[in-house]
């Protein structure tokens, strides 16, 4: 017998709105900086990304599970909004052609980059990846954290790989973020 998955409780939009209304100046600093991270990562405008995410939060078009903090929820919304914006920017225009018989032929949008573009884009991102790792050349633990984050290695597994205790790991993680902040103030640009 199969059992249906448990229903995930969601925060109603009014509750989300009330929580946001109660944000302190420093809470707003967190949200703003998260917007900057995502906007820079995807070449979007931070305030636009933030406004869109806030709109989706209060109108209920994006649901916030109760077990997720409002900050994480807003960050997820900003990630997807900025990602969509990047996709929209790279979308090609539809081409309309008139055939010999006078009929209209529409060449549908093909968003797939051609081989040269794909290679170039991969090369650029790979170059940044290597440069970011290079920031921690003499710090094996920090480099392991960055590499692990990039590979999607999570929590305890990643901490074990660094050989650090919880406190030292948290402090190393902070160092990683601050060094990247200073090296890439305008986002992932070579």
């Amino acid at each position: 017998m199969t059992s249906s998955p448990p229903v995930r409780a969601m925060r109603p939009p009014d509750e989300i709105r009330a929580t946001i209304e109660a944000f302190t100046d420093l809470d707003w600093q967190r949200v703003r900086r998260a917007a900057e991270y995502w906007a820079r990562a995807h070449g979007a405008d931070a305030e636009d990304v933030m406004q869109d995410a806030l709109e989706r939060a209060v109108d209920g078009s994006r649901q916030c599970p109760r077990d997720i903090s409002i900050f994480t929820f807003l960050s997820g919304a900003m990630r997807s909004i900025s990602g969509d914006e990047r996709k929209a920017r790279t979308r090609r225009a539809e081409i309309h052609l008139v055939a010999d018989d006078g009929s209209l032929v529409v060449d549908p949008i093909d968003d797939r980059p051609n081989a040269a573009e794909a290679a170039q884009s991969w090369e650029a991102a790979e170059g940044i990846k290597q440069a970011v790792l290079g920031l921690f050349e003499n710090d094996l633990a920090a480099q392991t954290i960055v590499e692990g984050d990039m590979e999607g290695i999570e929590g305890e597994e990643l901490r074990d790989l660094t050989g650090l205790d919880a406190k030292a790991f948290a402090s190393k993680r902070r160092l990683v973020r601050r060094r990247i902040d200073r090296a890439y103030p305008k986002g992932w640009k070579p």
Partner: protein, 142 residues
């Protein structure tokens, strides 16, 4: 998005997570170091939030207005597809099949006297809403 870009996105996610874990004192210290004005940033952010709330309110109002202006959907289309003669025959059949319902109708309706076509259609729609209309092929419901 290629694999290298996905890797950078995963790293960004972790940077944001770490930012959220930072204490107020750390956030304040970082803001000072970067020359940010926390109070001014917060005021701007609250203004953006206010805009988001207003935009959402406008959308809600527009949706409510559109719903009010939308023509009401016809209640029952099936009876309107009948000719006036078929409608009267259907009404008679329905009243025979459901004598209890018939007692609730006016005398005129029960005897189909002086009813306009519109009255007949209206009664059929009421009976359909009550589930008392016989099936269109004339067979009695089981």
């Amino acid at each position: 998005m290629n694999k290298a870009q996905q890797a950078l996105d995963r790293l960004t996610e972790k940077l944001v997570e770490d930012l959220f874990l930072a204490s107020d004192a750390e956030i304040m210290a970082e803001a000072r170091e970067e020359g940010r004005d926390v109070a001014r940033d917060a005021a701007r952010s609250r203004a953006i939030f206010a805009k988001a709330v207003v935009a959402q309110g406008k959308r809600k109002m527009a949706a409510a207005r559109a719903a009010l202006n939308a023509p009401a959907a016809p209640r029952t289309l099936a009876s309107r597809r009948l000719t006036p003669e078929q409608a009267r025959a259907t009404l008679a059949q329905a009243l025979r099949a459901a004598p209890d319902a018939a007692t609730k109708l006016t005398m005129a309706a029960r005897k189909d006297q002086g009813l306009s076509d519109a009255d007949v259609y209206g009664i059929l729609e009421d009976l359909a809403d009550l589930g008392l209309l016989p099936p269109p092929d004339g067979t009695e419901a089981k």
